[in-house]
Symmetry: C2
Subunit: 310 residues, 2 copies
């Protein structure tokens, strides 16, 4: 069994690759919920939805987020009524938020997401990292900002000083996350190429997660989200810089420290490999332009993790 830890777009791409090359019962994807927020009275889980939509093959690959063939009649009508429109909610996407919000009154996020993934025809398990609220707060020069204010409303413009994960100390890993961490047949943990600071950090920071990982003798392999000194998407590179770190594979490896057994970096950064101490390094084509590239990277990451099992 493979446990993949994922945030949004980049993480969802590798998760899709893993879902293509693994039998569905052999994959659990655990997703960051630190980006979740309440907006217009709705409970919104951007990373979970990105993973759901991507694994269902329903995501918009051109826009990079949301559903393909999305329409915006709701947003236009909301604007006419004077409502908030800075966070774009498509007409189809809205069904996910309305139905989730309704069901969360009596059910856990895990239950709702498990039902959604079945409804969308996804075979592998998808679990939120926690059913308890964890909310990422970005410490910036402009003060503390809820994640979506920083990320969407302010387009990541404020200079980052640090991060807080409000609620994390009292949040429990979800039952699905714990089941995967404790699974007797767990073979590897794959940290997908998601933002280390705001996508992976909350997952690893949940109470007991690192302790459970340390007890297992399975390889932990991270795929770097940085390629040639830049993030494929999102503010990861900008965050490294603003925190005084070089935008290099060494910085990414350093962020994860001795957690990693294996570290996968892009071909463009092959000459970084010699400078990384600690994890074994695998050089691969990590830019996932299409589904073939996703499956190819997934295969390489699984093969690499296989070589790390002693």
């Amino acid at each position: 069994m493979i446990l993949a830890l994922a945030g949004g777009v980049g993480g969802a791409k590798l998760a899709q690759g893993l879902a293509m090359v693994l039998p569905s019962e052999k994959l659990t994807v655990v997703v960051n919920t630190g980006d979740d927020f309440e907006h217009l009275g709705l409970s919104i889980s951007p990373d979970l939805d990105t993973v759901l939509y991507t694994l269902a093959g329903l995501n918009d690959t051109a826009r990079g987020w949301g559903l393909a063939g999305e329409t915006w009649a709701f947003m236009d009508a909301m604007e006419r009524l004077g409502g908030e429109t800075w966070f774009r909610l498509g007409d189809k996407d809205l069904a996910t938020h309305v139905e989730r919000t309704r069901r969360l009154k009596t059910e856990s996020l895990s239950t709702v997401i498990d039902d959604f993934r079945k409804r969308l025809g996804i075979g592998c398990r998808i679990a939120p990292m926690s059913d308890d609220p964890v909310r990422t707060v970005v410490q910036t020069q402009q003060g503390r900002l809820p994640f979506q204010d920083y990320f969407v409303r302010l387009q990541c413009a404020p200079e980052v000083r640090g991060f807080e994960f409000s609620g994390i100390a009292s949040a429990k890993p979800s039952a699905g996350f714990i089941a995967a961490l404790d699974a007797p047949d767990l073979e590897a943990v794959i940290i997908c190429p998601s933002n280390p600071f705001v996508s992976v950090s909350p997952i690893l920071g949940l109470p007991g997660v690192k302790e459970r990982l340390a007890k297992r003798k399975v390889p932990i392999v991270a795929v770097s989200p940085i390629i040639g000194g830049e993030a494929v998407k999102g503010p990861a590179a900008k965050m490294f810089k603003e925190l005084g770190l070089a935008v290099t594979q060494e910085s990414v490896a350093g962020f994860y420290g001795d957690l990693l057994d294996g570290f996968v970096i892009d071909e463009r950064d092959a000459n970084s490999a010699a400078r990384i101490t600690g994890p074994r390094v695998k050089v691969a084509q990590t830019l996932m332009r299409d589904t073939e590239a996703k499956a190819a990277l997934a295969r390489q990451v699984l093969d690499f993790s296989g070589t790390l099992r002693s």
Copy 2:
């Protein structure tokens, strides 16, 4: 000042006619909220929305409800997720429900609706009958049914035995309703051609409304929703029959009793006029096929009410 009492489609049509022929500051439309309900976690006010959309000229005249040019991507996506789809919520319409639901956490329905009508460019005042929840329950052979279950889900099929307006005893007329009832310049109260049982009855049944009306010396004029033994739309005729009443203008007049000073019936029922005792009767073309017909009927009703002022 004219106070119009309205339910859904028929009421909204005459309200639109009145809005066309009166200066906007001279008209207040008070709308039934007994049909309101919570669905998919959203606060839905069907009659208020019908009045809002109709007076804004945004209503779908062919379908008879909702917004013109509506799209249904949300509903399709909701079906895919296994959510409830028996109550059709269009993508544009949904903005009204989401924004209302969000605002009702901190604001009154009156405030929200007043803001919506301004946003939609409506000049006259529109007020919910009450800011307190009143919920129409239909007593049927199949038991007590919440109104929208009876009306939409079961398509008015169950045989009606009576009605309850849950919460009405402790509900207060809204500030806008009271202001209109007490307005020194109130000239007439027009009961629009809405369902007497489920649209008008809750408005008139709010504590103190009939007492306030009785104190005023202004004419109260009802426009019958029955034409030639049938309702133009909706279950009014079926309800009269199931309650053991003939589907006639006499029955409609009898329902309102001595509340009325004037009663407007359709030309097709002209021979009923002589059999109606109590209110003065005006025969008119009451079927409002287009905006001209709405304005024409509004003019006649206003002229008629003028002749009733002594």
